[in-house]
Symmetry: C2
Subunit: 613 residues, 2 copies
């Protein structure tokens, strides 16, 4: 294939089912292959369901019953679903079309119903999951790493925190079991050891000692309160609160890191936070950086966090870093060449030209690039195929930096690994979950094989989404409405780091923030399931609130730019925001964008008329 | 429909694809309905993929690429999958055909790709999940309860332990925030309050107080070590070790409960264990009872555990009970009449005759019945649709006894509940997980609607499995082989409580346990992926080890019955067992059973010849 031969238009069922015939042909071929497999299995065995069986009244009425139930399922789905398949009328949550090969692979593989908890139950899909895990590690730059599919990003975050908690506790356990290995180290030093150093020690003790060390680690229930603080961005996703609760370190150990007016971690603030904790001899269990925040699409400066860690390590302060790239993770593919090596920043423009990534002028900032590149220096990373991987739910994922880490949380002796070189014989022993659908692995595997995880494959899809978002952002930036003589202006929140476009409506001259919040909430009601059928709704979006308890004053720059005073901001304490994850791969060309932006404009106008009229 | 009109033969694709045409017709109808929905959405919007687009070289090569990848997926699945669709040649793990309506509903609903984390993203499937949760509660007898789908049973167990941990810690938090509500109670009394009493207190404080109490509960990270011991059956499933590790109470708090020679919890031993802990003023965080153990199909006497709790409550000793009915949960349907009321034990036989549940004489013991009935008295219950619900992976589930419990672990203010009467607007705030496939809810919903969760629906399917297991057990009980002049005898482990049939081969006269263990392990190798293609293997099964560290001497009765001495047992320390979960719904009639048992017999013989020959 030539460098621009991957055509995204071939990979989706299509907003109007344009590829439905293709989809159905492939589906039926696959189903026939499965049925043939059943038919040709031990042909000496007679079918247990005979033609006579099919003539009974019971059979007929059972078939009827099944058909009626499926009619009801169909009616419910068609009556009350979100039409995110549209090329442009749904710009809300992280939903759009998913990749046809992933859908097909899932629908096919589920007929075999493998359970990837154990290799024995699912040889084919267990191998696929092992390959997908290696894909995650490579995509994320985790060179000696490993990965696997997780049911969702909240669980992957929880698994990351589980790794961090148990890792951090190991040196204390080592000092009990093999004190000579950490001779002369203070408790502070033990709680600030580099991960590699800990793993190296474990390489040099016996299997029995490893088991004893593990049994005295945080898994015993001891020392949890000694491990220190878990630092998450102030705009904390509720999954981090849940995770700290579940893992037992507790919410009291969660410390917010201030974000700047771009909603990114403020690394100076992070440094002083860490230093002040260290001054009190409070260890830092770990720091979470978010790559693609769910509300703002913000990309935290992972490279600066890594650099800060290097600097502090010289002062015997060390922390685990978990990157929550549930949303953004797949976007790292746009920075990798066909050999999966990072493309130098200076070469991005020409590479994107070569691969036809963008149809218009789109620039990715150096900051964002540097952050993505640095992900590989962090201990664990959440990455969700069901977000920017365009895979159907549920498919989350995690990558870890060092494959040796997995034994820290495992429940079997180390020798089990040796038995099977392709995939662990019992994946369930090395992960948080138990039973898991082999079909998910088949879906992700198929997508990764159709679209390589670099600029020649996923990079194009991510590029289409980023370009669509840029176009939507530009469209909103100039937008103003005359609603029955009242002027209403649209103001995007920020030029986002990623494909999440936030914005508000405000009547020109309005200085009452409550009024503006109500206008935007009313708009959301008009643009969602709240008011009537989604199917006939001409524009749909989602919304969020930025409130002081979670955001501090980071939104004030924006709010102030809209003409609200500091007093007003402090009085109201929140701003209601409309929120569009622009995942559609279709708004990246002039014709489609113009068509849909005109339609969105007129739909917005009529909603505003309903509200203000 | 008449009482025996539900014909299970209509509900599966069939071991030889007998219903494949029916399946394909329904699948294509559903797919067409989905495609029609796309096509008729805003017909004024032109398709973004034009016929011209489809003529380009890039489109053609991308389609080719996709087709080749799917060919590869198909080849891998067909080459290395487990042929559990067979009516009788695979009797190993908990795998057999899954229900056609569930497969179809999943394949259909996944085209909409709803995310049940939030109602807004998935109105149709969120409502279905709410109904499925209510189904779980009703099936399990949790009268004021609630439930939801969980990715798998390990996570549902973890969620149960999370509930237990946070519930147990509440009285300590209450005594800090609203001490007047627990005036005069000692710490011991606080740690031994009945769940209902705790929830009643919360009904009588303000929302702000509830938030403060929650913030001082175990979610803060405090008091974890005060909560006491978590008691699990000695044969502990590794998911319980993981759960105790993850939840932060730690493995050191996990105490094994001895099991008897039927592999059930020994309630007398449990009582003395609880009393001796209480005598030391160590609270009991909770007790796990297993309904359908994964290795032995054992059903712990839940009714006796509940009774013991009632007795001890009078002595101010109280513990949470979690039932791990991941495997057995759905089997409670065989004890419910069409009004979903428990059928009196004395009426079971006649009811089963009326509904044609069994084709031969099958008796369910009073103990097992009583245990299932008592599930409704326990605080939380794991139940996996992807096990005895005959639903494809991944579909686990949980039921809780009192819907008020869900606020104990939630992350939003209580008022959010009021907004939406059908389903919580944000399910993700009340559960352990985040994003979750709406398609799973559609699959389970469809199955529950085709097969009601009582004797008229699922009861028949469960009955078919139990009868198939009984027949297999009887077949094994008489089995003996002459292998090149050597006599090899089969001995089932126990007459199982449920559909798990365990057994061993032993050469008559052999008194060396290591030799027997090797024979059975060699047999497993011959009957699994270990030796060559599964597709051409004429009989497949799974295996397990009962070793002293996990089982104590509970297997000795069996081992001794085989002629091994106590010294031999203690020297070798484990017995290798072959293990058949008999889930197939097809071996419940004479003709099919005879045919397959003959084939299994000859396959077993030829495997033994390979090993001993």
């Amino acid at each position: 294939m030539s460098k621009d031969s991957m055509d995204l238009k071939a990979l989706f069922i299509g907003d109007k089912g344009e590829n439905a015939d293709l989809y159905k042909d492939m589906l039926n071929k696959l189903v026939d292959e499965h049925v043939g497999w059943r038919q040709n299995y031990m042909p000496q065995d007679m079918p247990v369901i005979s033609e006579e069986d099919k003539q009974t009244e019971g059979y007929a009425s059972s078939v009827n019953k099944m058909k009626s139930v499926l009619d009801e399922v169909s009616s419910k789905l068609r009556s009350e679903s979100v039409p995110w398949h549209t090329a442009g009328r749904y710009l809300g949550h992280m939903n759009t079309e998913t990749l046809m090969p992933a859908i097909l692979a899932y629908q096919f593989a589920m007929l075999w119903n493998g359970n990837n908890v154990a290799y024995e139950s699912s040889p084919a899909t267990s191998q696929m999951e092992e390959e997908v895990g290696a894909d995650f590690a490579q995509l994320l730059g985790l060179k000696d790493g490993w990965g696997h599919i997780v049911a969702d990003g909240s669980l992957a975050n929880l698994e990351g925190l589980w790794y961090a908690r148990n890792m951090k506790s190991l040196p204390l356990a080592i000092s009990e079991v093999v004190p000579e290995k950490v001779y002369g180290m203070s408790e502070w030093e033990l709680l600030n050891m580099r991960m590699e150093d800990i793993l190296d020690i474990l390489d040099n003790v016996t299997d029995e000692q490893i088991d004893e060390i593990k049994s005295k680690s945080a898994r015993s229930g001891k020392n949890l309160s000694k491990l220190g603080k878990w630092l998450v961005p102030q705009t904390k996703h509720y999954s981090w609160l849940k995770a700290a609760d579940i893992i037992g370190i507790g919410l009291d150990q969660v410390v917010p890191i201030p974000v700047d007016s771009s909603y990114r971690i403020d690394v100076k603030e992070l440094e002083s936070l860490v230093r002040s904790l260290a001054a009190d001899k409070t260890p830092i269990l770990g720091v979470v950086g978010v790559v693609g925040s769910t509300e703002e699409g913000a990309v935290d400066p992972i490279h600066e966090i890594v650099k800060l860690r290097e600097k502090l390590a010289k002062e015997k302060i060390y922390f685990y870093i978990h990157v929550d790239a549930a949303y953004g993770g797949y976007a790292r593919s746009i920075f990798l060449d066909e050999n999966n090596e990072v493309i130098p920043y200076e070469k991005l423009k020409e590479t994107y030209k070569e691969y036809n990534i963008f149809n218009s002028d789109v620039t990715i900032s150096r900051d964002v690039y540097d952050s993505f590149v640095a992900i590989g220096d962090c201990e664990s990373v959440t990455i969700d195929p069901h977000k920017m991987g365009y895979i159907p739910y549920s498919a989350g994922g995690i990558g870890i930096k060092d494959i040796r880490m997995r034994n820290i949380i495992s429940y079997f002796a180390t020798y089990v690994f040796e038995k099977n070189s392709v995939a662990p014989s019992m994946l369930g022993a090395y992960i948080l979950e138990g039973s898991k659908a082999g079909a998910t692995a088949a879906a992700v595997w198929a997508a990764h094989h159709v679209l390589p995880l670099n600029v020649s494959g996923y990079g194009k899809l991510i590029g289409a989404s980023i370009e669509s978002a840029t176009r939507f952002y530009n469209f909103l930036s100039d937008l103003e409405f005359n609603v029955n003589g009242r002027k209403v202006k649209v103001t995007p929140l920020i030029n986002p780091d990623f494909n999440m476009v936030d914005y508000t409506f405000n009547e020109v001259g309005n200085t009452d923030l409550t009024v503006m919040n109500k206008l935007n909430h009313d708009f959301y009601d008009q643009a969602s399931f709240v008011t009537g059928s989604l199917y006939s709704n001409e524009f749909m979006t989602s919304h969020t609130d930025f409130a002081i308890p979670d955001y501090g004053n980071s939104p004030f720059k924006y709010v102030s730019g809209l003409g609200f005073s500091k007093e007003e901001w402090e009085k109201v304490g929140k701003v209601t925001i409309l929120r569009s994850s622009v995942m559609t791969p279709y708004l990246n060309n002039d014709k489609v964008a113009d068509e849909y932006f005109n339609k969105i404009k007129s739909a917005m106008k009529s909603k505003l008329e309903n509200i203000l009229g």
